[in-house]
Symmetry: C2
Subunit: 286 residues, 2 copies
């Protein structure tokens, strides 16, 4: 059906492959992932195939973006399954760099994006976005993509990468791809496997509160405070939910908005049982 | 004699030119500069012409690498002369980005190289190397060079850029090019124009102390303390000299050495009158 997917692990082979594609006029889309693929990842890969001649999926669980006490060690991994899913999705290259090659002992360089990483997840995860920006910068140098595709579920991540690409004059386009949801609305996430069946029910309150906010907005409500009050009411109906944040922010600067005019992002982070989940949606008034 | 040099200012034109060169199999050498060219710069340009098919010289006085109270405002500039010298040196592209394009109002991304920037000039110029690494990262994305050539006079800068390139997996080679000196030994620097005739005499003590140290080393001295004592003696013969630092460090890690075995870098920063000068040399025992 598709030509066989190639696995590249070597850091010298990857840019050499990219140069060959570019010299022959082929465009490259990169989908950076931490593996344990779900439909959201597959949607990004399909998006990549539509956007470029070649699709590279990188698979690397990046320790730099996990804080102390976060879930780096137990982050779910299943390489055999990921490999098969990527191949079935028509991916050309599965890029699986090794930790000791990306971060050798004398490693000491970091990319920091400042203002857009200060709020939202940046508050409770202070080193997270530095880790994300750094590894994505590295992947961009190695894969030399024309397009890079990220899921909009991690909205602040998309904004951060776009800002880095613009600020550092990287010659590529960052594309945010729509969040894929379960039939009942739960945003796809590799971390959903952590949820107990009770958590799974409570987790629905995130997408439910987003829908309620969108409905209020469509009905003409522009006040962030009023919309957030309803969001918080829905989230806290489940006693096991602890809200990390629920904010309405500017789509590009991520500064908090008091009034939606004409667009805002409603962004949530909620601890459901022991699992921290995030979700977001666009709010738009006519 | 040479085909006419082209001046590129536009940030979209530069990577497009680079892509065209790369697609046609031509290699690119970049010489990043802050202008006000002297023989040292011309030597870097010649080095570039030997190393690659095309030479790009960037000219940008980067405010990010100047600290408060440093000489950003009065840094010497002479674009007409620089343009002529670059063209005579056989440069293909003089890249002259504008400040507002490289650092637009919402600019917020920085590249930090940590350990190698802590000592030497990093002590008295705490934001300097972050500014250097950031602008050089930007220039590398814009010019897409195969080789980048820096003067070894700024030894810590060369080490910092090499570390950044390795850590961020940039697909290019950083080359340190030998320091060019006046007939009497003074290392070429755009900042030499700040020196009064009295300073100019006192400034000779830097290269004189380096020569004395090399002589001691050739004679078998391996102790850093003993060599530095002589260096300091020579530098302080001029009462207007104030030593910022005089250290012998490891050539790659820049950690201070007690014993030279088999190589060290003797690095100096001295305020001569009102002008801060730096110089360095390799010390090597047989």
């Amino acid at each position: 059906m598709f030509p066989a997917m190639e696995i590249i692990q070597d850091l010298k082979v990857m840019p050499h492959w990219a140069d060959t594609q570019r010299r022959t006029g082929r465009t490259i889309a990169l989908v950076p992932t931490m593996g344990f693929f779900h439909s959201g990842h597959l949607s990004l890969m399909n998006h990549g195939r539509e956007m470029a001649d070649r699709v590279v999926v990188s698979l690397f669980v990046n320790p730099l973006q996990f804080g102390a006490g976060e879930d780096f060690e137990k982050y779910p991994r299943d390489f055999g399954r990921d490999r098969q899913l990527a191949e079935e999705a028509g991916v050309d290259i599965l890029f699986t760099p090794r930790h000791q090659d990306l971060y050798p002992e004398d490693y000491q360089t970091y990319v920091s994006v400042e203002r857009v990483t200060n709020g939202l997840c940046g508050v409770s995860r202070p080193v997270h976005f530095r880790g994300v920006a750094t590894v994505v910068c590295k992947l961009f140098q190695l894969v030399k993509p024309h397009k890079a595709i990220f899921g909009l579920k991690d909205y602040q991540q998309v904004v951060t990468i776009k800002q880095m690409v613009r600020d550092l004059n990287m010659d590529l386009e960052v594309i945010g791809s729509p969040t894929v949801r379960e039939a009942d609305g739960l945003a796809m996430s590799s971390r959903n496997v952590y949820l107990s069946s009770e958590d799974r029910m409570a987790a629905l309150s995130l997408s439910q509160s987003l829908s309620a906010a969108q409905k209020r907005c469509r009905e003409g409500e522009r006040g962030a405070g009023s919309i957030l009050a309803e969001v918080i009411r829905i989230l806290t109906r489940h006693p096991g939910n602890r809200i990390d944040y629920a904010k309405i922010v500017h789509p590009h600067t991520l500064k908090e908005l008091e009034t939606i005019n004409p667009r805002g992002i409603l962004a949530l982070a909620v601890r459901v049982g022991k699992t921290r989940l995030i979700d977001n949606c666009l709010l738009e008034v006519d």
